[in-house]
């Protein structure tokens, strides 16, 4: 019943328009080096989005993933091409890691018709269904039950595909978290819920620390209340995350039962672009966290194995510059959605 689809060599561009090529086409996904390269690109990309926001090119909210890259990278590295996933609103990097063209992601942030959601969604609603990315969602916790139902559907259709859901530490205090994972635990008993739950614990929900938001700080343990196996991993080390991801995904795929992993990470930037002063944490705390930058940690590992050296690193960073610059140019040059788009896709059926 395996149902593997080979990664398309030239993935169709979102909105079916030409855009900068995906960085992931250059190397095999399996290679750690390729993932290092992609993490560098994603980091540069996020820095650029913050610039563009300050320049008024991007509107609404903007939540960047800087500091948390190893979590999404580790899991998406192990996800099969025909698997699917859902995220919250901190979703640009996930889209890029899955193979979306940075230009299409940037164009979405710019509100252009070439954007990953045709300019309808913006930062919080990246969608790339052709690659199994079923979207970013803005209501905290609101996407969780969708992922549970999606996992059920995958098994119902008789496939061995799995569904991944990323959620934040803050989302664990929402009612829908409880209802959804109780359902997942029940459906898992029947082998009908091949779901991997990834808690991106970056220590804060906006300005509220885990200890001030949750009566228990061992978040993974909460999954025991739903009979969902759970573990806690260092979310700053790509290799560690990837190993845990491989285990969890294989488990969910073979058993049809949900698995949960709490990845402990940290948000380097403010909650959103508006969170400038960050009165809820100290400069020192941020410094200490930055000392364990996931991109640097992976770089050092690769230097250790000889796969990377000074020049190679410099080259990758330079390439990242170009890719991000191209993405910005693509976004700048893309047209805004035509007025007719206003009433498009409200309904699927006529009248």
């Amino acid at each position: 019943m395996a149902n593997r689809t080979a990664r398309k060599d030239t993935p169709r561009e979102p909105g079916g328009v030409a855009s900068a090529a995906s960085p992931l086409q250059a190397a095999a996904l399996s290679s750690t080096l390729a993932w290092y390269r992609t993490m560098v690109i994603a980091r540069r990309f996020e820095e650029e989005t913050e610039r563009a926001f300050r320049r008024g090119k991007i509107g609404g909210y903007l939540h960047v993933y800087s500091g948390q890259e190893a979590v999404a990278a580790g899991f998406l590295a192990e996800l099969r091409d025909d698997d699917i996933f859902f995220t919250a609103y901190r979703d640009h990097t996930h889209a890029i890691f899955r193979g979306a063209a940075p230009g299409a992601v940037m164009a979405e942030l710019y509100g252009k018709s070439t954007g990953l959601a045709r300019g309808k969604g913006g930062s919080m609603h990246m969608f790339d269904v052709s690659r199994g990315f079923y979207g970013g969602y803005g209501i905290v916790g609101g996407h969780i039950p969708l992922a549970v139902g999606a996992a059920y559907a995958l098994r119902y259709h008789g496939t061995d595909r799995v569904c991944l859901v990323f959620l934040g530490d803050g989302a664990m205090n929402t009612g829908v978290f409880h209802e959804s994972f109780n359902l997942a635990g029940l459906w898992g008993k029947e082998g009908l819920c091949p779901l991997v739950i990834v808690v991106e614990n970056n220590e804060y929900g906006m300005g509220t620390s885990v200890a001030r938001a949750s009566a228990v700080i061992d978040l993974a343990s909460r999954f025991s209340g739903y009979a969902i196996p759970n573990e806690r991993v260092d979310g700053m080390d790509f290799m560690t995350v990837r190993e845990a991801a491989a285990r969890a995904i294989a488990q969910a795929r073979s058993t049809g039962h949900p698995m949960a992993i709490e990845a402990h990470t940290y948000r380097f930037a403010g909650h959103g672009a508006a969170d400038v002063f960050q009165p809820y944490r100290s400069k020192n705390e941020i410094e200490d966290a930055r000392a364990r930058d996931p991109v640097v940690i992976l770089e050092q590992r690769l230097r250790g194995t000889g796969l990377l050296d000074e020049t190679r690193v410099a080259a990758i960073h330079e390439e990242a510059e170009h890719i991000v610059a191209d993405a910005v140019r693509f976004a700048e040059e893309s047209p805004p959605p035509p007025p007719e788009d206003l009433y498009a896709d409200v309904y699927g059926d006529e009248g």
Partner: protein, 341 residues
């Protein structure tokens, strides 16, 4: 043509569609082992198995949300809310996900989801269990809202809902489940947005939906005894709303009454009255009258509950007011003032 109860019309449609399309699954509280609180799903667990007839915990937000995810991944979930009152705990899932995900994804997903169950009041269930939620849901783009008044409509509209690509809020009325009526055989389906003229007449148009259609028809009988020929329009769906049929009727009758079970302020009748007035202002000989439930949480005591609900006599009086055969409510009674809180 067979005579079926409203309940059996719904149940047989579920069976016909489930036999035809294996991607249809049912979810809800006590729809399986318990056989459904209104027995709509009786025997379906035995017939289709636990994979297609899913008993859920008391987790409306969870299982409505799960059904949205299922719909995005190619299933056709039909969710039963035990009553629509309980949909309020799933309100965010319905409004912010089901209704909008197609749009904010730039059209990358379908959401062929039907949420169905009993709506409305009338059997002393008191304040938390007697609501009509149509005004909440009909306000939201991305949703379709059906309000069947007869067994035939229950079947025809449910079939259309179950074959569509969009989320449908399917509002049954608990007080109608045992009502019987003729239902066309076979693949009978009714389009959304097409109202029916339930009774033709030339003197005044009475617009209603769901259970209030029978109240309107009863009123029309009384009016007839009085020589007043009322035309009764059964809207069938509130979103889309059939403007044309209403305007066309009022352009003949020059008078209109709208009947609604729920609270008057910001209720569904306001949209209907405003729509008629906008479309037929010069043709109206009197303001569109609204007959609605009283603006209070539903009380338990039967005598008070009966005071809340609209009755045929209320519709008759309103119709007569549009014909200036009854003095108007101007200088509205004390209760009127309190109606708006």
């Amino acid at each position: 043509m067979a005579e079926l109860s409203y309940r059996d019309a719904i149940r047989s449609t579920l069976i016909e569609e489930m036999d035809r399309d294996p991607s249809i699954v049912l979810l809800g509280e006590d729809i399986g082992v318990y056989q459904g609180t209104f027995r709509i799903t009786a025997d379906l667990l035995a017939r289709y198995g636990a994979k297609r007839v899913i008993d859920t915990p008391i987790s409306e937000a969870g299982f409505v949300g799960a059904a949205i995810g299922m719909a995005m991944l190619g299933l056709r979930p039909v969710v039963e809310v035990m009553t629509w009152n309980f949909s309020l705990v799933a309100f965010d899932q319905i409004i912010n996900n089901a209704a909008k995900v197609r749009y904010f994804s730039g059209g990358q997903v379908d959401v062929p989801l039907v949420i169905r169950g009993p709506n409305g009041a009338g059997v002393q269930l008191s304040a938390q269990h007697s609501q009509s939620v149509e005004a909440f849901y009909a306000h939201v783009p991305g949703l379709r809202v059906a309000t069947p008044a007869t067994p035939a409509e229950a079947k025809g509209l449910l079939r259309t809902a179950m074959r569509g690509r969009d989320p449908v809020i399917f509002l049954e009325h608990a007080a109608l489940y045992s009502h019987k009526g003729d239902v066309p055989d076979g693949d009978f389906a009714l389009p959304f947005g097409a109202a029916e003229i339930a009774r033709p007449g030339r003197d005044v148009t009475i617009v209603a939906y769901s259970r209030m259609v029978s109240v309107a028809l009863e009123a029309a009988d009384h009016l007839a005894e009085d020589g007043i020929a009322a035309e009764v329009i059964n809207l069938r769906t509130l979103r889309p709303l059939d403007h044309r049929t209403m305007i066309e009727s009022v352009s003949r009758t020059h008078r209109a009454v709208v009947v609604q079970e729920q609270w008057r302020p910001f209720g569904a009748a306001a949209e209907i009255a405003a729509t008629i007035t906008e479309g037929a202002f010069d043709l109206l000989d009197a303001p569109v009258e609204r007959v609605t439930g009283a603006d209070v949480p539903m009380p338990y005591a039967r005598n008070l509950e009966q005071l809340v609900l609209p009755h045929a006599e209320d519709v008759v009086r309103a119709a007569r007011r549009t014909l200036y055969r009854e003095e108007s409510k101007s200088g509205a009674p004390m209760t009127e003032g309190r109606r708006d809180g």
